[in-house]
Each structure stands twice: as structure tokens, then as C-alpha cells.
């Protein structure tokens, strides 16, 4: 069936709330308001306020509460209205959720999902437009997922809710209304599995979340060029941690060239890590240095032309591909 990314997330949570009494949703405006982006539409009506908790605007407090509830045997889903607000809960996420398993020598576990939209939308300015996935991916003990399609969003969210570890599940506001095919009935997608979204021979493009759509458009455009046709393979890691390096490396071994696209800041970004891993595993297979397309290293400006200049676009992806092709 054809559904939006938003509906796919809604279905995933609804199914898991029905399946497991230990699962509950907590966050700002998730109940009677139906979610700031309407992802939890209809939940409080179906499950009641015992399963769907509206909170005051206190991310550290309710994220910490959810971590404690997970230690006490529940499986919380924490909705952050946007992932920017994870910064307020960073101590709870990094010092508690990620480390409690290890510090306790395996006695305690924190099965919790922290989800919400990251990255830029339209002119929301610096404090509401940032891609923080590299921060979370840096921390041992966390898993990080950033799905691009409705099918992946649903299957991975269900896996995240069933996982026994803390999972950061990063969506994107500009993906909520996008549509895609979702299988009928029950299915999950394993955490830590990349997927080749477009087969190609000449170059590998690794891209996730919103940037996957950009990469696929760029690949189609490059394939249409009669004079300099380029056949790009597009790989979506889907899970950033643990990263499915095998799928990326097999693609690179086939094409010999790699472009990595991410919306986040360039310095110490996800792409730097992916590039390092690929150099380590497949240096001898590369015919050219890896090229990265990233967001610019500036706080996100408000003004439209400036914002456009700060975020990767299709032209920049195509230029990067042409550069790596030499």
C-alpha cells in the first residue's frame, strides 16, 4: 500500500503499542494535540492517557524518566518534538542511557527509543535546523537509525521498539509527507542492514535520510546524460550505528569510486567516518579519492538563499560524482 512516511511511523508505533503492554509513548504534545507533526494521530483515543503521555517542556526530565522506566521493565518511546531538543537531554542519553548497561556489568538494560525529526526543514533558522546524528553515533552503547523511505521507517521503527538497547531514531520533517510502498501486514527490517537503493556500475553514492532522495534524483539525472552517461549505485546505510560497512564496501569494490552525501556539518561528520572505514577496508579498490558532499560548517541561516547555500543540493551531488569520475 502507498502511505506517507508519517503514516508509516504511525502504523509502526500503533502495532507495537497493541502488541506489547510495556510499550508507551511519552513526549511533548504526543497525546491530545496528536503530535506536533501528527505522527501520533489517534493514539490517545485508542490507547488512552496511560499509554500516551503528554509532558511539560522538560526534555532532560522526561527522557531521564523514560530511561528509569526502561530500567524498571518498560519499553518507552520518547518523542522529541525535534531532535534539536535532544541537546537538553544529552546528559541523560549519553551518561545514563548509553552507559548503564556497561557500568552495571550487564545487570541493567535500557530498552528505549528516542525519536523525532532532525535536519533542516524550511527556514527554521539555526536552533531548529541541524543534523546531530554524528554526535550520537560517536557514543558507544547507542544505536542510531535514520530511515529515508516509509517502508524503512516502519520496519526499522518496529525493530527499534523491540530492541533491548537505547536507539536514537532520527526522522526528517521534510520526509513526513513523502509517499512510498509499504508491505501489507507484519514486517520488520533488521537494524544494521544497509540497502542498495539503485543498482549501478560506475560510482557508489552513499546517502541516508533526506539525502537519499537527493542522491537518487541525481543518479537518474546522470543516467539521462547522453554525452557523459554515468551509472551510479546508491546505497542507503539506513542504520548509522552499527554501520553495515560490508554492503558499502562490496559496492565500492564493484564501482571503484565513492561519493558520500550528508546534510550535517562537514567537520567530524558521518561521512568522515564512513570514508575512513572504506579507506581501511577497500583502499586498493579505489580508483579515485573519496568525495564528500556535506552541509556547510555554519549555523543554519534563516534567509532562503543563504539556507540553500548551506545544504547539499542535487547539482552539488552531480558535481561531486563528475569530480570522482575524473
Amino acid at each position: 500500500m502507498l502511505v506517507t512516511y508519517r503514516e508509516a511511523l504511525n502504523q509502526a508505533m500503533r502495532e507495537e503499542l497493541r502488541r506489547d503492554e510495556r510499550v508507551f509513548l511519552i513526549g511533548e504534545e504526543v497525546g491530545y494535540y496528536q503530535g506536533a507533526f501528527k505522527v501520533s494521530k489517534g493514539f490517545v483515543e485508542e490507547f488512552g492517557p496511560r499509554r500516551v503521555w503528554d509532558t511539560p517542556i522538560t526534555e532532560a526530565g522526561f527522557t531521564g524518566l523514560a530511561i528509569g522506566a526502561a530500567m524498571g521493565g518498560l519499553h518507552p518511546i520518547v518523542e522529541l518534538m525535534t531532535f534539536n531538543f535532544a541537546i537538553l537531554a544529552m546528559d541523560q542519553i549519553v551518561n545514563n542511557a548509553a552507559k548503564i548497561r556497561y557500568m552495571s556489568g550487564g545487570q541493567l538494560s535500557v530498552p528505549i527509543v528516542v525519536r523525532g525529526p532532525g535536519s533542516a526543514a524550511h527556514q527554521l533558522a539555526a536552533q531548529h535546523s541541524q543534523s546531530l546524528e554524528a554526535w550520537f553515533s560517536h557514543v558507544p552503547g547507542l544505536k542510531v537509525i535514520a530511515p529515508a523511505t516509509p517502508r524503512d521507517a516502519k520496519g526499522l521503527l518496529k525493530s527499534a521498539i523491540r530492541d533491548q538497547n537505547p536507539v536514537m531514531f532520527i526522522e526528517a520533517q521534510l520526509l513526513y509527507a513523502t509517499k512510498g510502498e509499504v508491505p501489507e501486514g507484519e514486517y520488520t527490517i533488521p537494524i544494521g542492514q544497509a540497502e542498495v537503493k539503485r543498482q549501478g556500475r560506475d560510482v557508489t553514492i552513499v546517502a541516508y535520510s533526506k539525502m537519499l532522495l537527493l542522491a537518487l534524483e541525481a543518479a537518474e539525472e546522470l543516467a539521462r546524460d547522453r554525452d557523459h552517461r554515468i551509472d551510479a549505485e546508491v546505497v542507503d546505510p539506513r542504520t548509522l550505528k552499527p554501520l553495515d560497512l560490508d554492503t558499502i564496501v562490496s559496492s565500492v569494490k564493484k564501482t571503484g569510486r565513492l561519493v558520500i552525501v550528508e546534510e550535517g556539518w562537514r567537520f567530524a561528520g558521518m561521512g568522515a567516518q564512513i570514508a575512513e572505514s572504506v579507506y581501511r577496508e577497500a583502499f586498493d579498490f579505489l580508483d579515485a579519492p573519496i568525495v564528500r558532499v556535506t552541509g556547510e560548517d555554519v549555523p543554519m541561516p534563516y534567509s532562503r538563499p543563504l539556507e540553500d547555500a548551506a545544504i547539499p543540493d542535487q547539482a552539488r551531488v552531480r558535481a561531486a560524482v563528475r569530480q570522482v569520475m575524473g
Binding site: F24, R50, T55, P56, T58, A60, G61, F62, T63, G64, L65, A66, I67, G68, A69, A70, M71, G72, G73, L74, D91, Q92, N95, N96, I100, R101, Y102, M103, S104, G105, G106, Q107, L108, S109, P111, P140, G141, K143, D163, Q164, N165
Partner: protein, 321 residues
């Protein structure tokens, strides 16, 4: 007053006291490393409060956590082995002094970011209520955590949702080296901070183990039967430095002040009561000293002879597989 009951409380406090003294010695011998925060002087709070709990009630604490862990019934051998960083420690050597955990005894951990564990305590209470159980969550923290945002967000959520959590503030008057008058606006009565959220709050003499237990029995019964948070300020004092890095008095308080407070040593107070009531004699205390001396010596032997973790354990327990 019951002789065996009171002697049992004395025994628990004595165990913590001698355990901590021995830990300090082991630190000097470099058997224990890192940060080490001793509970000496504050024993009546942990022992009195935890004596009012059921075994299935949760306890969670900050970094000065040895006393709470021992009072919850953890094996001194495994606690000491954890301080030594040994594989036989409670947390297999991965937590250390500040992060003791004993899940089977519902000791849910020591946490070392000041204020950061108060939301966890509220979450444990949330899980109790969600599952329609009747435990309580008892959360120990120092008064130094009170001004933190985490504490206030925790108070608000606990009060808003009427969760069965007891916030037990161990007010030892110093946040590391900063006296309470220089750190908290309402230093004269910190319970006001909790009351401003509609949380019932009381004070107790934290040097008097019988007073602490009597109060907590009442508080626990109330929280268990009609869930809502409760705040207790136990006025206490630490006889040692903040950690092993500073001496007992340091530059921030005088030797005289420490000596004056030592006159209200919680072990001394209970001993005086026992003698005054004719419930125990010097022979009883000598016998207890000997017994506890043996327990602590055995903990040291166990820790010392235990193996360090195998390097292969480095990547174990990062994730649930």
C-alpha cells in the same frame, strides 16, 4: 526498644564505617584508584532509611554510594572487589566506586553526574505505577544536587503524576567544598524547594538512625498506600573530605567544626542509647567489632585474591546482544 533490633542497626552502621575506613587504607596502598567518596559520618541515613523498605523496593544513589549498597544487603566481598576493579566485583570491575549496581537486591546504581539520577528515580516510580505494583523508589542525593535543573524537572514530573518516589536529601552542608549558604538560595530550609511543587517535605536528624527509620517507616507506608512523591531532608555531616583528594577539614571548614560534629557521630549516639537503656554492654560492642573486623578483612582478602577482568571482557556488555 528491642535489643536485637537495635544491635542489628548498630551492626549495619559499623559495617559501613569499618568498610569505609578500610577502603581509605586500600586507597593509600593503591589497591583502589580513581575517585573514592567515603560515607563516614552519614551511616544513619542509609541504614535508617533502607531499614524501612521491603527487599523489592528500589534504591538509587549518587556517587557516594557504598553505604547505600551495603545497607541494601549487597555482599561486602563483591562491593570491595568492585572497588579493587576485579572481575568478581558487583559490576565485574566496570563500574567502580561511583557506579555500584546490585540488580537482584534492587540497588539500581550509583550515578556520578550530580542531579542526573533524580529523573531515573522518577522513572523507576513511573514503572512501578504503570505496572500497578506497590513498591516505592527511594532516591538518595546530596544537597548539592538540589539547585540542578534535573532535580527540579524530576520534582515537577513526580508531583504532576503522583509517583511513588521518596527523594531523600542527605544534607551534609557541603557541595564538595562549597558550603550550602553559598550554593542554595533557600539554604536555611531546602525542603521549601520540594514544597513549591506541592511535594510533602519533612526534616529529620540524619545522625539519629532511630529517628530516620521511624520517619521513613511512616513515609514509606504513606507513599505505598497513596502514591505521591515525598521529600525528606536528613541533616547529616561527612567526617571525611569530599573524596580522597582532600583532607577531612580542608580550607573550606575548620578542624574545630569537624570535631564538634563528631560528637554527634551516629554510631556513638546509638551506642549511648543502647547503654543508657541497659540493652547492651561493652562486651556486646567488642563482639560486634570483632565480627565486623572479620567481615571486612574477608572482603579485603576476597578482593585482593580475585582476578582482574580479562582484557577480552572489554567489549562485553556495551550492548544487549
Amino acid at each position: 526498644m528491642d535489643r536485637e533490633d537495635l544491635l542489628s542497626l548498630y551492626r549495619q552502621m559499623l559495617l559501613i564505617r569499618r568498610f569505609e575506613e578500610k577502603s581509605a587504607e586500600m586507597y593509600a596502598l593503591a589497591k583502589i584508584a580513581g575517585f573514592l567518596h567515603l560515607y563516614i559520618g552519614e551511616e544513619a541515613v542509609a541504614v535508617g532509611a533502607i531499614a524501612a523498605l521491603r527487599p523489592d523496593d528500589y534504591v538509587i544513589s549518587a556517587y557516594r554510594d557504598h553505604g547505600h549498597c551495603l545497607a541494601k544487603g549487597s555482599d561486602p566481598n563483591r562491593v570491595m572487589a568492585e572497588l579493587f576493579g576485579k572481575a568478581t566485583g558487583l559490576c565485574k570491575g566496570k563500574g567502580g566506586s561511583m557506579h555500584l549496581v546490585d540488580e537482584p537486591r534492587r540497588f539500581m546504581g550509583g550515578y556520578a553526574i550530580v542531579g542526573g539520577h533524580l529523573p531515573l528515580a522518577v522513572g523507576l516510580a513511573f514503572a512501578i505505577q504503570y505496572q500497578k505494583h506497590d513498591q516505592v523508589a527511594l532516591c538518595f542525593f546530596g544537597e548539592g544536587a538540589l539547585p540542578s535543573g534535573h532535580a527540579h524537572e524530576a520534582f515537577n514530573l513526580a508531583a504532576l503524576w503522583k509517583l511513588p518516589v521518596i527523594f531523600l536529601c542527605e544534607n551534609n552542608r557541603y557541595a564538595m567544598g562549597t558550603p550550602i549558604e553559598r550554593g542554595i538560595a533557600v539554604f536555611h530550609n531546602v525542603a521549601e524547594m520540594a514544597r513549591s511543587y506541592g511535594i510533602e517535605a519533612v526534616q529529620v536528624d540524619g545522625m539519629d538512625v532511630l529517628a530516620v527509620r521511624a520517619l521513613l517507616r511512616d513515609v514509606v507506608a504513606r507513599v505505598r498506600t497513596s502514591p505521591a512523591p515525598y521529600f525528606v531532608e536528613a541533616r547529616t555531616y561527612r567526617f571525611m573530605g569530599h573524596s580522597m583528594a582532600d583532607p577531612a577539614h580542608g580550607h573550606y571548614r575548620t578542624r574545630d567544626e569537624v570535631e564538634e560534629e563528631r560528637k554527634r557521630d551516629p554510631l556513638l549516639l546509638l551506642r549511648q542509647t543502647l547503654v543508657k537503656e541497659g540493652l547492651a554492654s561493652d562486651a556486646d560492642f567488642k563482639r560486634l567489632e570483632k565480627e565486623i573486623g572479620g567481615v571486612v578483612a574477608e572482603a579485603i582478602r576476597f578482593a585482593d585474591e580475585s582476578p582482574f577482568p580479562d582484557p577480552g571482557a572489554l567489549y562485553e556488555d556495551v550492548y544487549v546482544e
